[in-house]
């Protein structure tokens, strides 16, 4: 057992920590939420130059050959200042969907430019009726000549409004499959949809849209399950950063805000609330570490057990931290102009993505590990 970081990981952490502090304060996130893109294309390219976009992607495709643990280190730092670039969307969802579901050649072709920061990949898996089940979809794929044609609608495809490459799930005769739909493809319309945290997603309409099969037909169920576990683990890591920032922002407020002639942090009920926030943050951190370490595991039970535990913890403990952080800030906590309201929104978005508390508790309880040894 070894919970320490490798030298590489230490360096990633330090670089990222310095980046968010110097180059990406919350003010940047605040500013960009009103832009058309929702992020800064130059910063995204810079992330490519730093090698960050390839961290959890295979060396063969130009990546760093790392794991979700490496990506988690970055995301935790990004969470601390709400870095708006589409790391979760393009690298984790887009990139790792290809890792799990595309051939080596397809990976090399599509991942390469994204890793450089030249292109954005987006995964369009959800539909209006799918809630958190990636197999509950109705989009249909049919052969058309050499390629395929997809008809259906996808919602909440993170980053799809600006994606160069879309990875789309659809039901073919062989079962659920993944497809590549290029930007501007015939039959493709992407509507930009705002998200609560100031980000953007795409509502993707496919009317016989021109598509290319990725990997084997009918084999995408496992790939989708894996990439959504990766993404859930990533959301937890980012949530750790959000919670950590809110915790210390709140502690600082308790130390400086005076009422009745004393800093309000002397009031024991508020102290204990801050302690509960600290405990929740620490517990989230631990489960997030485990989830990201197990995200790469081929043992589906081990993996889902760890990911679901962490994601449930995000929705309970993580939300507790931002809700109580807001409460302890009093009136200014519920203004748009105070940063804590941005953190609050980001945490709530992370909760809603890739399965809420109930979804993951139920999944956890349905795993064979839950009844092992009875």
């Amino acid at each position: 057992m070894d919970l320490s970081l490798t030298d590489d990981q230490k360096m990633i952490k330090e670089t990222a920590a310095s980046f968010v502090k110097k180059d990406s304060p919350v003010a940047r996130a605040r500013e960009l939420r009103d832009s058309a893109l929702g992020w800064d294309a130059a910063v995204y390219r810079q992330m490519g130059e730093l090698g960050w976009l390839g961290l959890p992607l295979p060396e063969a495709a130009g990546g760093f050959g790392g794991t979700m643990v490496d990506a988690a280190i970055l995301l935790e730092e990004f969470g601390k200042t709400l870095v708006p670039e589409p790391y979760l969307a393009s690298v984790v969802l887009g990139g790792r969907a290809l890792v799990h579901g595309a051939t080596a050649a397809q990976q090399a072709e599509l991942l390469g430019p994204m890793i450089e920061g030249e292109r954005v990949i987006s995964l369009a898996w959800a539909e209006r009726g799918s809630r958190y089940d990636p197999e509950a979809i109705e989009a249909r794929a049919e052969r058309r000549g050499e390629g395929w044609a997809i008809t259906g609608e996808k919602v909440w495809a993170l980053g799809a409004h600006a994606a160069d490459d879309l990875i789309v799930s659809a039901r073919a005769d062989a079962g659920i499959s993944l497809f590549h739909v290029a930007k501007g493809a015939r039959g493709l319309t992407v509507q930009t949809v705002k998200t609560m945290d100031g980000g953007r997603a795409g509502r993707v309409r496919l009317e016989g849209a021109e598509a290319r099969l990725l990997g084997e037909p009918g084999a995408a169920g496992a790939a989708l399950s894996r990439v959504l576990d990766d993404a859930a683990a990533a959301a937890c890591a980012e949530g750790v950063g959000v919670a950590t920032a809110v915790l210390w922002m709140t502690v600082e407020y308790l130390k400086t805000r005076k009422q009745f002639g004393v800093p309000i942090g002397v009031f024991q009920a508020l102290q204990h609330r801050a302690v509960d926030m600290f405990v929740a943050t620490e517990l989230l951190k631990g489960t997030s570490i485990l989830a990201n370490a197990r995200a790469g595991s081929d043992d589906v039970v081990e993996r889902q057990r760890a990911v679901s535990a962490a994601k449930a913890q995000l929705s309970s403990g993580g939300f507790y931290v931002v809700a109580q952080g807001t409460q302890l800030h009093g009136g200014i906590g519920v203004t748009d102009e105070h940063d804590i309201s941005l953190y609050f929104k980001r945490m709530r978005v992370l909760m809603a993505l890739f399965g809420d508390e109930e979804h993951h508790v139920a999944r956890y309880a349905a795993l064979p590990s839950f009844t092992a040894g009875l």
């Binding site: 609560m196 009136g331 203004t335």
Partner: protein, 396 residues
């Protein structure tokens, strides 16, 4: 003991319900149906409709324009209006400064202000909190300097909700800087059009207008605008707090919010059935509804006390505590029910179903329910001290 309303009260309920259904203009009803945010103009439109009906001030004496209802009727009226999703009227005139003037105002003040509050001709806002004085109101620093026949006011008020639409503001100001804390404060009415008053609106975290900062830069205020006596503003503030505390329970609002949760859940597919059929989600909703049931009983018990003539005491702090928490939790459940649709933020109407459109905004802003009107922590301090009689630091 009889827990039912009388036939007369039930008939009254039906009358209110029918009136609301027929009197609410279509554009308001449409917004009510999705619990959208009502703008100030819409609130005032509804104000005038109720005024025309004679129902705008349920708790005012009949001779001053109140409808002369019993406590039970007022409860029913509030519950019905909230359940219908009608715009919640601005409380600053009708529920706050109005009743205070009725109790403590001079004849001239009553004649000058009350009719226009009632008709909605003049809109009010509240100037209590300051940047450094939130829960600790007694430490306020906005100063009213005595200049003979008038005061000159300087300072800043914050959380002056809807000040950008207000004609008048009632303020707590320091008229005597040499005495300590509560002693030197006066209750002052200030015309917002006076020179030197500026308002800086802010957005709430739900991206709706509400809060403002209001600045006073050498603002002249005639001395006749003091309510009560000079330096007795603290007494005024406490008296104001006592008014209609049972109305803060928001029972109807929460009932409506829970009904919305059920609606959304019923329309949401989850596995082979709907989310409302999911045992875990359904139990969560049921638990909250049971909490609301318990809260409603607490409200009715407070009401029963009021019927017997007991003034609402510190136990009404429970109503604030639980009412605010339940409403907040109902919107948390609505967000849960929405699944990924909870990501939505002021998008075009067809991105999420109409039922869900306003939920994220209200969810965000509803974090304020446990903060405003005396934060829940302050309510607990009140109960600890005044009901439980627990010792206070340094005073045992």
């Amino acid at each position: 003991m009889d827990l039912s309303f009388t036939p007369e009260e039930e008939a009254f309920r039906a009358e209110v319900r029918a009136f609301v259904a027929s009197a609410m203009p279509p554009h308001l009803a449409e917004k009510a149906a999705v619990d959208g945010h009502f703008g100030m103009d819409e609130m005032m439109e509804w104000h005038r409709i109720l005024y025309a009906k004679g129902w705008v001030a349920p708790h005012w004496p009949k001779e001053l324009g109140g409808p002369g209802w019993s406590v039970a009727q007022r409860f029913i009226f509030t519950e019905e209006l909230e359940s219908a999703g009608a715009p919640i009227l601005s409380p600053f005139g009708l529920a706050m400064v109005g009743p205070l003037l009725i109790q403590f105002g001079t004849k001239a003040q009553k004649e000058r202000y009350l009719p226009k509050i009632l008709s909605g001709e003049e809109v009010w806002c509240q100037g209590y909190s300051e940047p450094g004085s939130g829960s600790d109101l007694a430490s306020l620093r906005t100063e009213a300097r005595d200049e003979g026949d008038h005061f000159v006011v300087n300072g800043q008020k914050t959380w002056t909700t809807y000040a950008q639409y207000a004609d008048w503001i009632f303020c707590l100001v320091r008229t005597n800087p040499s005495v300590k804390q509560q002693a030197g404060i006066s209750f002052l009415l200030i015309d917002m059009k006076t020179e030197g008053v500026t308002v800086k609106p802010m957005l709430t975290s739900g991206h709706t207008p509400a809060f403002c900062d209001t600045f006073f830069d050498n603002v002249r205020v005639p001395k006749e605008n003091v309510v009560g006596k000079v330096d007795q503003g603290w007494t005024m503030a406490k008296a104001l707090l006592g008014h209609e505390r049972t109305l803060i329970a928001a029972v109807g609002q929460s009932a409506r919010a829970i009904q919305r949760v059920k609606h959304i859940a019923q329309a949401t597919r989850c596995g082979d059935a709907t989310l409302l059929d999911d045992p875990l989600f359904r139990a969560k909703v049921a638990r909250l509804e049971i909490q609301l049931e318990a809260h409603r009983m607490a409200n009715l018990r407070a009401l029963a006390g009021a019927q017997l003539g007991h003034a609402p005491g510190p136990e009404s702090s429970i109503l604030k505590l639980r009412g605010s928490e339940i409403l907040q939790q109902a919107y948390e459940l609505a967000m849960d029910a929405m699944g990924q649709n909870a990501l939505s933020w002021f998008n075009e109407p067809d991105v999420v179903p109409p039922d869900e459109h306003w939920v994220p905004s209200v969810f965000n802003y509803n974090r304020a329910t446990t903060i405003y009107g005396g934060s829940n922590e302050i309510q607990k301090n009140i109960i600890a001290k005044l009901i439980l009689g627990l010792p206070q630091v340094g005073k045992d």
